[in-house]
């Protein structure tokens, strides 16, 4: 005796009563768990990706003393200063890893403790800037070019008590650097301020390029909010930082912005504001131009390799555009220092490019830190700035 079971879409299955129990059992076990394996695969996949992220976080913690765990333990590297509203390093803290050893003072700077009132017969030099000034790849505070400059000055001027303050904070653009000068550095009464502004202002050029083209407003999509990958996710960050070449083209110019046509007026205005604040604070200002690893005279493949992080952070520019942009910004710095009667140090000319002096596109290697300190020291020695104090 047999029975016919009708399934949707015309599928039929014939089975005998004797075997029906076995069949039903099989079918029920399938029917009860048809999503088990796909779910298991998904769970395993999420576990594997989480494991990779954990490994990267542990590695980061081991190497740099920083991971996502710091956020939970109130140990983040950066905090917002309640008084000034500025992002600074976590005050009076030690961040220890095999690659870095960052010690911060009470002001949240990568510097030794410093009294708010300047002692008599002391020459105070402050270096303002971004990650390069802070010493992004300098293992210890003593490896930063700012500290080395202090040591060189001490050696060349043994009779003078010299304090060099590192007021570089990663991620700062010129606006934040001006506020740092105004709110934190000037109250410390420095005699000389050295600015090494870095390249964070470039990021604004790549932000929001949509909207208006040909002077005509374009209609925009208005979608529901999207979930973006969090910035602390190291797996994405590590992969993307090291694979820029896969996503960029040496031949295609269309997706890139023209660095020649960029209006640098906002940047020049920021420079003017910075100089004005320095003038009002009555400090001698030395502005260093920004050095970079990739140079036009290198073979193109080397330039592409050296500029990888710069292209990662500024995806709207190609290699030629980045060269132009760096050159135009440095020219703007030199022009502003001339106009404001300040001093300039052309570090972009003095520090050669290449892996010897740079870890990535813009951050100094140990040799680079040393070279920057030496060039700044040489400039200060030759200028009248130290003698006048």
């Amino acid at each position: 005796m047999s029975q016919q079971n009708n399934f949707p879409h015309g599928q039929t299955r014939t089975f005998s009563r004797a075997s029906s129990n076995t069949w039903l059992q099989q079918d029920l076990s399938l029917a009860s768990n048809p999503t088990r394996k796909p779910l298991r695969v998904l769970c395993w996949t999420i576990c594997l990706l989480l494991a990779l992220e954990t490994v990267l976080q542990v590695r980061s913690h081991y190497r740099y003393g920083q991971s996502v765990l710091n956020a939970f333990s109130q140990e983040t590297l950066y905090v917002t200063d309640a008084l000034t509203g500025l992002k600074v390093l976590r005050p009076n803290h030690v961040f220890h890893g095999t690659e870095v050893d960052i010690r911060t003072n009470g002001l949240g700077l990568r510097s030794p403790s410093i009294s708010s009132a300047k002692p008599a017969d002391t020459l105070r030099v402050a270096v303002i800037g971004a990650s390069t000034a802070q010493g992004a790849y300098a293992r210890t505070n003593e490896d930063t070019f700012v500290y080395r400059l202090g040591k060189l000055l001490e050696r060349s001027h043994p009779a003078t008590h010299i304090e060099v303050i590192n007021a570089g904070i990663a991620g700062y653009g010129l606006t934040e650097q001006r506020r740092m000068l105004e709110k934190i550095v000037l109250p410390l009464q420095p005699d000389i301020v050295i600015a090494y502004s870095g390249f964070n202002d470039f990021a604004e050029y790549c932000r929001d390029q949509t909207g208006e083209t040909d002077g005509l407003p374009r209609a925009r999509r208005v979608g529901l909010p999207l979930i973006e990958p969090p910035s602390w996710l190291l797996a994405i960050d590590v992969i993307r930082k090291n694979t820029v070449s896969l996503r960029s083209s040496a031949t295609d110019k269309k997706p890139y912005r023209s660095a020649e046509a960029l209006d640098l007026t906002p940047y020049k205005r920021k420079l003017d504001d910075f100089f004005e604040v320095a003038k009002r604070g009555n400090v001698k200002l030395v502005f260093a131009t920004n050095a970079r690893a990739f140079r036009r005279d290198q073979p193109e493949a080397e330039q592409l390799a050296l500029s990888e992080t710069a292209r990662y952070y500024n995806p709207c520019f190609d290699l030629a555009g980045l060269h132009t942009l760096h050159d135009r910004h440095n020219a703007a710095i030199l022009e502003a220092t001339r106009r404001h009667g300040a001093h300039s140090v052309p570090l972009h000319d003095l520090i050669p490019g290449g892996r010897r002096y740079f870890v990535d596109a813009n951050h100094f290697s140990d040799e680079g830190e040393k070279s920057a300190a030496e060039h700044l020291h040489r400039f200060l020695n030759r200028s009248s700035l130290l003698r006048d104090n």
Binding site: F7, P8, H9, L30, A31, N33, P34, T35, R36, K37, P38, L39, R40, V41, L42, W44, T45, C47, L48, L49, L52, L216, P217, R218, A219, R220, R221, V222, G223, L224, L226, I227, E228, P229, A235, I236, I239, R240, T243, S245, L246, R247, S248, S249, A250, T251, D252, K253, K254, P255
Partner: protein, 472 residues
């Protein structure tokens, strides 16, 4: 919400989980899928969700009225209502500016120079796809090939089903609505096959299509005068593979997501560049779209039975061209294909009387025909890729004059091109064997493969949310 994004990943997991928990509760499952589909579409632009609803309402009510009407005149009225509604929306959003510009050009050639204002409207993503789904359903009901559904929720889900809403495949009501009424039994194999398809599609899109576009196609088409003839010729083939990897990658993802939810979508590609004629190419390329035009336009015009077959073919292919966008280059592209398909038909009917029997019946002929078809398709796509007719002519001029200095194709682009060709010409059963092996392997192996591919995709992803066919 881009398909290759964290947001979509989370969305897909939530929908998959919710679907898995409600396999036995059909009504709740459909409610969830409908809400998820509208949410997905609203992530692109919430304002246009009203369009989705409008297309669903128009076709749902028109189909019910058609089925309920006794007189042919009333049936025709309701069909016309649905066609005017759907095609009107499509015409306004997609073709209004094309018509305004064309009229302005015509008038200026006649000596008038009126300032006709262009519309500042966005093209709602997927409108060509979901409006055609609505039309196909209503026509099927009109032709009595399908019963009108009484369940508005099912119909709204058919129109808005999130795997297909952006870029197809253009499904038919008779393919999807029965699956919503009585879903196929959910099987582990289908779920795993879905995962395989999702990652295969992502790889096609991010690794191959985007690399070909970035390294070869975009530079060649944006600055053709800078490139040598050899580079531009390679770019023509690269574009054919890019667009195939792009749309078939999307289709794989759509089919994969649908499978993980327990639904089957039709295949949309069948190794199109192995076609032995241009007619055969259209049976293998974007099958759901070409099938739509065959069934609802070519046959409606009389097909090969009534009227002039060649004129019917030309009209159908011109419509296929214009479906891709309101521009003359698309129309010329369609007409060219219509012309060649007509010629092939003529040849098929007359080759014996023309004394070509020895040539056509030769064993080498299929290879020769495949070579010819591939080249016709690839080079006609210069029209398809260019912004307008002038740019297409500029590209062809640059190709013929060989004035550019760049000869070398970037290594990465070349690698993507060679692998794409190799993948396209591998036997189909290799793919099936890989899939079968993938299905059999333990969960941890699946996860390892998926994780590895996911990391590779992160490296290749340009962050661009769009697929080529999103603009159509």
């Amino acid at each position: 919400m881009s398909l290759p994004s964290l947001h979509f990943f989370i969305f897909a997991i939530v929908v998959f989980g919710a679907n898995a928990l409600q396999l036995d509760r059909l009504s709740a499952r459909k409610n969830m899928l409908l809400a998820a589909s509208y949410y997905f579409y609203m992530c692109w632009d919430w304002r246009f969700s009203a369009l989705l609803l409008a297309v669903a309402c128009i076709n749902y009510f028109a189909a019910l009225r058609i089925e309920g009407s006794r007189s042919d005149a009333a049936r025709k009225r309701w069909l016309a209502f649905a066609l005017v509604g759907c095609l009107g929306l499509l015409a306004y959003f997609k073709y209004a500016n094309f018509f305004i510009e064309s009229v302005a050009t015509l008038l200026s050639r006649m000596g008038w120079h009126p300032e006709l204002p262009l519309l500042n409207v966005l093209l709602p993503v997927g409108i060509s796809f979901f409006s055609f789904q609505g039309i196909s359903y209503t026509i099927d009901v009109y032709r009595r090939q399908q019963d009108a559904t009484r369940d508005f929720r099912d119909f709204a889900l058919y129109i808005a089903f999130f795997p297909t809403v952006l870029s197809g495949p253009i499904t038919r009501g008779r393919q999807m609505l029965p699956q919503f009424t009585s879903p196929l039994p959910y099987t582990e194999e289908r779920g795993l096959e879905g995962l395989y398809l999702i990652f295969r599609g992502l790889t096609k899109k991010l690794v191959f299509a985007d690399t070909l576009a970035l390294q070869i196609v975009n530079p060649a088409f944006s600055q053709s005068q800078d490139y040598s003839t050899s580079f531009l010729v390679i770019a023509v083939y690269a574009y054919s593979l890019q667009i195939y990897m792009d749309l078939s990658g999307y289709t794989d993802m759509a089919r994969g997501v649908a499978k993980t939810l327990g639904f089957e979508l039709p295949e949309n590609f069948n190794r199109p560049y192995q076609a032995t004629s241009v007619s055969n190419f259209w049976q293998r390329w974007h099958i759901s779209m070409s099938g739509f035009f065959r069934d609802y336009l070519f046959f409606a015009l009389g097909g090969s039975k009534y009227g002039n077959t060649y004129v019917n073919l030309l009209i159908t292919f011109a419509a296929i061209g214009i479906w891709h966008g309101g521009a003359w280059n698309f129309i010329v592209y369609g007409l060219l294909h219509g012309l060649v398909v007509g010629l092939e038909r003529l040849l098929r009917d007359r080759y014996k009387s023309w004394g070509l029997i020895y040539f056509v019946d030769n064993t080498i002929f299929p290879y020769f025909a495949a070579f010819l078809s591939l080249n016709f398709v690839a080079f006609s796509r210069v029209l398809f890729r260019s912004d307008d007719l002038d740019s297409a002519l500029d590209f062809l001029a640059a190709m013929l004059t060989d004035q550019g200095e760049t000869h070398l194709v970037p290594v990465l682009g070349l690698a993507a091109l060679v692998i794409s060709i190799a993948l396209h010409y591998t036997p189909r059963d290799w793919d099936l064997k890989i899939l079968a092996r993938f299905r059999r392997s333990p969960a941890i192996v699946h996860s390892g493969v998926i994780s590895g591919v996911a990391l590779l995709l992160i490296a290749f992803s340009s962050g661009s949310a769009t697929f080529v066919y999103f603009q159509f």
